[in-house]
Symmetry: none
Subunit: 413 residues, 2 copies
Amino acid sequence: MIVEIVSTGTELLLGQIINSNTAYLAKRLNELGYDVLFQSTVGDNRIRMTQVFNTALERADIIVTTGGLGPTQGDITKEVTAGILGRGLYLHQPSQKQINDFFACRRIKMTENNLRQAMIPDGALVLPNKCGTAPGIVLETAKNTIIHLPGPPYEMEAMFEASVVPYLEKRFGSQGVIYSKVLRTIGLGESSLEEEIIDLIKRQGNPTIALLARSGEIHIRLTGKASSVQEAMNLIDGVEQVIRQRIGQYIFGVDDEALELVVGRMLKGKRLTVSFAESCTGGLVSSRITDIPGSSEYLVGSVVAYSNAIKSAIVCVDDAILRTYGAVSREVAEAMATGARSRFKSDIGIGITGIAGPGGASTDKPVGLVYIALAGDAGIECYEHRFTGQRSVIKSRSANAALNHLRQYILQL
Amino acid sequence: MIVEIVSTGTELLLGQIINSNTAYLAKRLNELGYDVLFQSTVGDNRIRMTQVFNTALERADIIVTTGGLGPTQGDITKEVTAGILGRGLYLHQPSQKQINDFFACRRIKMTENNLRQAMIPDGALVLPNKCGTAPGIVLETAKNTIIHLPGPPYEMEAMFEASVVPYLEKRFGSQGVIYSKVLRTIGLGESSLEEEIIDLIKRQGNPTIALLARSGEIHIRLTGKASSVQEAMNLIDGVEQVIRQRIGQYIFGVDDEALELVVGRMLKGKRLTVSFAESCTGGLVSSRITDIPGSSEYLVGSVVAYSNAIKSAIVCVDDAILRTYGAVSREVAEAMATGARSRFKSDIGIGITGIAGPGGASTDKPVGLVYIALAGDAGIECYEHRFTGQRSVIKSRSANAALNHLRQYILQL
C-alpha cells in the first residue's frame, strides 16, 4: 500500500512553521507497514490543491492530509477533494452537536463560521475530534482512500491514534511491521565507514542499510520488514553482528542513546568520577554531561578556563608551559587535564583547548585546531584534531570528540 | 517566478527527521519575493525521483533541492536531474581539489567514493561548499532553473546565503521585496504580551504582526511588503515604535540577535567582565556566552559546581551556609555569585543553583526551583524562579533567565 502525505497551508509555503506533522505521520505509517513514498505541500489555493490531489490519486493508494479543515474561508481541503470526486457536502448533525457542545462547555460564543467544520462530503466516514472542533474525514473510492486530518499537531496525533490506526487495521488488515534499529557511530567519517561495509550496502535487501550523518555522528540505520517485530529484529540481528565485527569500536550506542548518556552509564558502572577544564568548548561538554539525570554521581565539577590567568589559577597550569607552548598546545591540554583531576579530586580529568574561531588563529595554529587530553590512573593521553566549520560546529565537534575519547579511555580501564 | 522545493532522502519518508530545510528555504525565498507554491519530498529512488522532478519542471520555474549530493551510493539527486536533461557528468577539477584539500587539512584519509561529489553535470554552475565537501549545482534550461543544495542544514544555509542569493539576484533581478523584522522579547508570557498589543494585531495590514514562541522567548514578527527594502522598513518602523513604547523593556534584540550576543555586546560596551558559578545549568550559560566570537574579552571563567565540595572549594561557599539553607537556596546562590566574582576577579559574578530534575526534589523544594544571584558594584541581587518541564527545558529556561537578569543588571549600571 503506497501512501502520500499531503500537507496544506500557506504558512508552510511561507516557511513560517516547520512541518512536524508529516514526520509524525510518516514514522507511524511506516511502523504500521505502509510505504510512504511521497510527501507534498500545497497552499490554500483551489486550482493548485486540485493539481496536487490529482497527482497523488494517480501514484498513491492512500492519501493522508493535514490542515485546511478549520472554520475560515481559507480552509478548503475537503471541498477540493469532494469536488474532484464529484460529491456534495451536507451538514452532519452529530458533528454540529459536538461543535455546539465544545463551545458551550468552554462558555465561548460560537460564531457562525464554525459550522463550516460540520459540513461533510456525501458518503464520507467521520472521525471524531476529541481535542478540537474539526472532525476528520475518510473518503473511499474504488481505487483510493483519502484521509483528512486537522492541522494542529495535538488534534492530528490524537485522531490518528484513536481513529485512523483502527480504521486502517479494519480496512486493510495487518501490513506486517517495519522495524528500525540505529547503530550510532563516532570517530570514523561517512565515506570511510561506507567503505568498511560497502559490500553489505550493495547487496542489502531485508533489512535495508542506510548511512546518515548527524551532527558529528554517523548513524547506520537497519530497517527490517516482517510479519512481527520479533521476526524483523531477528533479520536485523544478523546484519548487526557482521557490522559490529568490522567496526564495533566505533559504535557507541543504539537508537536514541546519546553519547553523553552512554559515557555516563559507563562512568557509573565503573564507579568513576570525572572533571573537565574546558577552554574552546566553553562549558559545552559539561552542559551535555549534565543533560543526563543523575550526572551529579560522576561529574565532580568543571572549570571554563578561557583566559591564561584562570588556566593557571584554577587548574594550576604552569605559566612557563603557557609561555613556551602557547595556550593551544598539547602540553597545555595535558596540564589542564592533570590540573582538573587534582583540583576536583576526580578519577579522570579532561583538558580541552583549541581555536573555535573565527579569530585567534595564526599560521601554524589554524581555526579548528583542538587538543583534548585525558588524565587518570591509566596515564595521560592527548589527541590533536583539526575541525572545520563555523564556531558552533567546531565547539560541537570538539565536545563530541572529548566525550568519545572519554568513552575509549574508560573502555581500556 | 514560481518555486518548488524538493527534498530528497529516505529518512524524511520514514519520518526519522523533521524537514527543517524546507522551512528555511521557503522563508528566505519568500523574503526575496519568490512564490514558493509547492514542496515535495521523495526518497532516494531513481524512478520516483524522476517522476517528482518531471512534475516540478512542468509547474515551477525554479526548483530548489536539498539532499542527495553526498558520497554514498544512495546519493543520486544530480544524476537523476542530469539524466532528465540529457546531460553527462564529468570530474570537476576545482571541486576535486577542494575535496582533496578538505581531507588533507583535517589529516583524514580520503576514500575513493568522495570523488563522486566532484562529478558535475555538463554545463552546470558549481557553488562552492565552505562547510563540507559536496558542492552545490545550478542547472539552467530554456524554461527552468534547478538548484541542488546539500542536505546538512548548516552547509545548505551557508551555501544559500553565500551563493544562491547573489545568483538569483544576478539572474532574475529584484522580485520586489517582503521584508521581516523580528523583535525578540523575554520576561513576558505570550498571552500577556498579546494583550498589550491586541489592538495592533487586530487591525494589522501591511506590515503584518505575528507572535511566535521560541524556546523561552516570544518573538514579534513584523512583515512588510513593498517595492524596496527601504520602503518595507519604513512601514515596519511605524508599528515597531508603537510596540516599543508599550513593552520596550522586554525587547532585548532584533532578528537573529541571540540573548548571549546582546549581553556580550553590553559587557564589551561597558568594559565589564563576568564569571559564573553554575550548578543546575551545568555549564550551559557559559557555553552560550562562549558561542559568541570574542567572548574571551568579557568571560573570565566559570566553574560548574555540581557538588557541595566544589561549591566550597572553588567558589568558597561557606559550609555553614550550605548546611543551614541547603544547596538550593537564595543564600547559596548569593554566596556562589560573590565567590565566583572574587575567585575569577570579574566585575560581575553570577551564581545559579536549582533542581533540574527529575530527581532531587523535596516537598518545599520542587523540581524547577532555581535561584539566580548576581554580585557586582551595584550590590547583590537574587531571583527565585519556578520553571516547569523536563530537565533540558528547565536548564534552558534557567540559562535564559540568567542571561536576562545579567542584561537588566548591566542596564542599571
